[in-house]
């Protein structure tokens, strides 16, 4: 069997898992950022009251 065939199969599987992993990480980072923003805003509003 052509060695490139196996190599490209691994590339394909790596891309499939890699893209979904990257998206999961981006979701996690966005979630952390949003929660931080919300906490800061709530604290600011509390201080102004």
């Amino acid at each position: 069997m052509d060695e490139r065939n196996i190599t490209f199969m691994f590339y394909g599987l790596a891309v499939a898992w890699g893209l979904l992993a990257v998206y999961a990480v981006l979701l996690g980072l966005r979630e952390r950022n949003l929660n931080k923003q919300l906490d800061t805003l709530k604290r600011m509003v509390e201080e102004k009251k």
């Binding site: 065939n5 199969m9 394909g12 893209l19 979904l20 979701l27 919300l38 805003l41 509003v45």
Partner: protein, 230 residues
């Protein structure tokens, strides 16, 4: 409650994906003509099906938004669209890698491939449109209309292999070929099992993304309140 569902989905999807990877690598037989490269197909097709279900969800919730004017439907639509784009990217790139070995080229301007790319670009445009409109009601209304029109590109992509003579392989799932078995049942079952795994993962991503939309709306509300206080 939603956090529990997200954790539950992750606990089911994670092990199932790992188990599927093992079976794809060592359990299913080699395809006679293509060799190992065909194993990409176990991610390529399920990723497309998952993305198509996301886009369909976005279309249905966009219609519901236009009828009921409830922002929750808009939140579901954007969450499903963004997650669908991630899975559609998996579909496109794995297809290119497969094409490089099977056809000798990375890309062919074949109807199926071209429509899959158009579909991805249209939904990417949907996200760009949203980021360009500040008013939440206007944003939801315009993007709902775009999502409904964009769903036509999903239908055309789906039917492209039947409507035009294309380089892309034809339908192989027996549910689409009227019960005709085009691939080994072991391979077909593996496709369904991995589609299930990707759908569970997708549902988890959509719920996380939906929670973020709600936090974003809360941030906007607190900002408006803080602005009114000044």
């Amino acid at each position: 409650m939603r956090t529990k569902v997200i954790v539950g989905l992750g606990l089911v999807a994670g092990p199932l994906l790992l188990r599927n990877l093992y079976v794809i690598m060592f359990g299913v037989p080699d395809e006679m003509e293509q060799g190992p490269i065909y194993r990409i197909f176990y991610y390529h097709l399920p990723a497309f099906l998952t993305a198509a279900i996301c886009y369909l969800t976005a279309m249905v919730t966009s219609v519901l938004y236009l009828i009921k004017k409830d922002q929750r439907y808009d939140a579901i639509a954007v969450s499903a669209t963004e997650t669908g784009l991630a899975f559609a990217a998996v579909n496109l790139i794995t297809g290119m890698i497969w094409g490089r070995i099977s056809w000798g080229i990375w890309w062919a301007w074949d109807p199926r491939l071209t429509w899959a790319l158009i579909c991805w670009l249209v939904y990417f445009g949907y996200l760009m449109l949203r980021s360009a409109i500040d008013d939440p009601t206007e944003r939801a209304k315009n993007s709902a209309v775009l999502s409904i029109f964009a769903s036509a590109s999903v239908a055309v992509t789906w039917k492209a292999i039947e409507w035009w003579r294309t380089q892309h392989p034809g339908p192989v799932l027996s549910i689409r070929t009227g019960g005709v078995q085009k691939i080994d049942p072991i391979m077909e079952n593996m496709l369904y099992v991995n589609t299930l795994a990707l759908l569970l993962l997708c549902a988890m991503f959509v719920l996380i993304r939906l929670r973020q939309e709600e936090v974003q709306r809360e941030i906007d509300a607190v900002r408006r309140y803080a602005h009114a206080m000044n």
